[in-house]
Amino acid sequence: MKIDLTDTTASKINKALVKGRRAIGTPAVGMVLTLVIVTDEENAYDALKAADDASMEHPSRTLVVIKRVSRSPRDRTKSRLDAEVRVGADAGTGETVILRLYGEVSDHAQSVVLPLLLPDAPVVVWWSADAPRDPADDPLGALGQRRVTDSYAAEKPVEELKARAESYEPGDTDLAWARITPWRSMLAAALDQVDCEVVSVEVAGEEANPSVELLAMWLADRLHVHVRRAVSAGPGLTQVRLETTGGPITLHRSDGAMATLALPGQPDRAVALKRRETSELLAEELRRLDPDDTYASALRFGVDRLGGIQSASQRPEAATWTPGELPVRPVHDSSEQAAKPAGASASASAGEGDSGRPTPAQMPPVKKADPQ
């Protein structure tokens, strides 16, 4: 059920929550955390939808904080809080309160959110767009144990990563980091299977995708070897190549779904590495609420210490793939690539319009389900 409250306060919202719960007959709830989503009208729908889906795994109270921009100076001096309270079937498996803040109160959002937090339960703050430069220092961010940003949604992702590294506090995490968990786990599994030392690494992926940098920094941080970041047409990450003393290990994905793992002396194997939806990323974020030290360490390695973007086609070709299959493009192509429409450049992603994401501005925060 939905309860609309206009020009309201936190205590009225609390009353509406209790009333809503009683009305649907479930006064006791097993919600495990409070999720605060900070967003704008443009992204609110998608962010809330992702949170609802994630709440299937983590029943939570979701507080959506939307700061509204008033047009006239007169309106900006007024202060108003509107709320939409949703419980039961309208709110995934938990409760949702959408808070719209006008005027002065939008600078004091924490005063609205604080009384609405679940007792004792952990608080996670997620900026679906426009994350503050220093999340832990933000008044809303200070309420959370866990602060989730998404540098993919930023205008300049690489700059964003540098800012994250500077302001990092335990509890910070980024959805661009969650996006590479399947890659990391596959690479770790690959190294489990061979007994040799990694000499150098190359990570290739589309431009302006911070996940590629994060993966490269993680590998550099763990392996202590030179890691190059190469640009390809995407979608997303396309290839990781580990040069080892026993031969090259490559994990290659051209279509955003199926990857091929090649190990020295072993047959090629197909592995499913599907790009995941925001709700799945969020569910992964909510699974562990302790500080992610591995992320911190990778982040602090620093984007600047990665090997410069190099032309992939100048490297000796590996025996495991043919050049025609590989969408890694030389760097002088990249400006031309970016100008092309999504998906047109990568042959394998034809027909998958929503997986060839050229610029962050065109990137919808919620990935729609697999078109098949």
Binding site: G30, H58, P59, R184, L191, D192, Q193, A272, D292
Partner: protein, 507 residues
């Protein structure tokens, strides 16, 4: 292989435990268990990214199938029964490693073909010679299959690879046969490479018994004879024997359920804190509890067995056990069994554990209820506490997994009246949908070689030592009591608890 993989870091909690290169061979792949549980579990594991690249699934059965037919069968089973959504790319990863070997268990050629298939998979899929053999076959076929595996060199571990055997209940039908079975299996596979599936142990709620007891402070202090009155462990089914007459008749409820599931649940409920959570420490504590179990002197008064009679179960007419197809009308097989046992140690002396199981009971439910003593003194007068029962902590194992705490609370109003209320923790409420199926966890553990959740030889043998005297007594005395289908068992079982001044919970 290399223990010093620089990409592995214990602090990196996001990376899941992925099994190393390996494959699974299922004998009896056309059976119900395989279609409804094993194949979907394999798919769900793959979908969660927990299977190694190149994971291979080999089916072995009599049916005349090609690899494609087998893949189609798995495809249908997965679509129908898998927990997680169907994804084409995950399926494409799996299907490359699917093979089918046609043959009977005594067919030497078929086992040669199986060996060739495994060799071929090692080359094509890089399984590295690591294979688990899942024996989803009738107990009579166990020795044949095991011997065939030995004869054709399929159980040989060479060059750092492993071969494991996964076996399903029943683990024999008495101590003697269980020992024989263990000898047969362990003569071919090393004891630590034999995994006995008790699917209850793979359930989240069952593992949660340990978390609740040993990770919290508020339960363990009252987990003993000073506070606990008795413990009831129930596993009820609403269905009859269905088409399993051949298997069930002569085995019965006690051997089918009490010997493995209920005694394992009891061991987890009653055991002392293990020194660590590794397999050896856990097994040591469970073994100690099972070894401390004492049967009552008068088995006639403290055990009950029954057979379901005609009746109505949940709105459907049900035939009695003796009228089922393929059952001898004079059969003495029990479809209901209730026993009382005690655990002779300092913690539990004098606290009875009541175990009951049955078919065609009120509803399908498995639970462990720890019932506490009444408060030693009540400042409230008798009328105020008339409706107050005993406090209880109930682990609901299935369905609706969760934990219930029952305690008294004042009824709102002007007079003092205290009544029982339930406080519920439902898994479905706090961790919706994330609970993996038991078989997923167990298959993954087999591939990882993690034997925490698998009963060991000693546990199986100790369990038979508990049940054998009861079965012997039943053989010689009386016959099963009849109970109407759809009820909570024979009146004799109610009388058994009444004599102790207690009553069964209605689960």
């Amino acid at each position: 292989m290399s223990s010093s993989n620089p990409l592995r870091d214990p602090a990196d909690r996001r990376l899941p435990r992925i099994a190393g290169p390996s494959g699974l061979v299922i004998f009896g792949v056309t059976g119900d268990l395989s279609r409804k549980k094993l194949m979907p579990a394999v798919y769900d594991l793959a979908n969660r990214g927990l299977l190694p690249p190149g994971f291979s699934l080999v089916g072995f059965a009599r049916r005349e199938w090609e690899n494609e037919d087998f893949a189609q069968e798995v495809h249908d089973a997965v679509k129908e029964h898998a927990r997680t959504p169907f994804r084409e790319e995950v399926w494409q990863q799996l299907v490359q490693g699917m093979r089918f070997v046609q043959g009977t268990f005594d067919d030497d050629d078929a086992f040669e073909r199986l060996r060739d298939t495994i060799g071929e998979l090692d080359k094509a899929q890089g399984t590295g010679g690591n294979f688990a053999f899942y024996l989803s076959v009738p107990p009579s076929a166990f020795p044949v299959v095991i011997q065939q595996l030995k004869k054709h060199g399929l159980a040989d571990q060479t060059g750092g690879s492993w071969r494991r055997a996964v076996i399903e209940k029943p683990f024999g039908h008495d101590l003697k046969s269980a020992e024989d079975l263990n000898t047969t299996v362990e003569e071919v596979f090393a004891p630590d490479q034999v995994f006995r599936i008790d699917h209850y142990l793979g359930k989240e709620t069952v593992q949660n018994i340990l978390a609740l007891r040993f990770a919290n402070q508020m339960f363990e202090p009252i987990w003993n004879r000073s506070y606990v009155d008795h413990v009831q462990i129930t596993m009820a089914e609403d269905i009859g024997i269905g088409g399993r007459a051949g298997y069930y008749d002569g085995i019965g409820a006690a051997r089918d359920v009490i010997q493995n599931h209920l005694l394992q649940l009891m061991a987890l409920t009653a055991m002392e804190e293990p020194a660590s959570f590794d397999a050896d420490a856990l097994a040591a504590e469970k073994t100690k509890v099972l070894g401390a179990v004492r049967l009552p002197a008068d088995l006639g008064a403290n055990t009950v067995r029954g057979q379901y009679a005609e009746g109505w179960q949940g709105g459907e007419k049900a035939v009695g056990y003796l009228q089922e197809d393929g059952i001898d009308p004079k059969s003495k097989t029990d479809t209901y069994a209730a026993i009382k046992v005690e655990v002779d140690n300092r913690r539990w002396a004098g606290v009875p554990f009541y175990l009951r199981t049955g078919k065609r009971l009120g509803r399908r439910v498995t639970e462990i209820a720890v019932v506490f003593q009444r408060a030693p003194h009540s400042p409230f007068d008798h009328t105020a506490t008339e409706e107050l029962g005993q406090n209880a902590i109930v682990f609901r194992v299935q369905p609706d997994e969760g934990i219930t705490v029952r305690f008294g609370s004042k009824v709102p109003g002007t007079s003092m009246e205290i009544r029982d209320v339930s406080m519920d923790f439902a898994y479905g409420e706090s961790f919706t949908e994330s609970s993996p199926e038991a078989y997923e966890r167990l298959i993954l553990d087999v591939l990882l070689g993690d034997s925490n959740l698998f009963p060991r030889t000693e546990e199986v043998e100790l369990s038979w030592k508990i049940l054998d005297p009861i079965e012997e007594y039943w053989d010689k005395h009386g016959k099963p009591a009849q109970y109407q289908s759809g009820t909570w068992g024979p009146v004799e079982a109610d009388e058994m608890l009444e004599r102790d001044g207690r009553s069964w919970r209605r689960p």
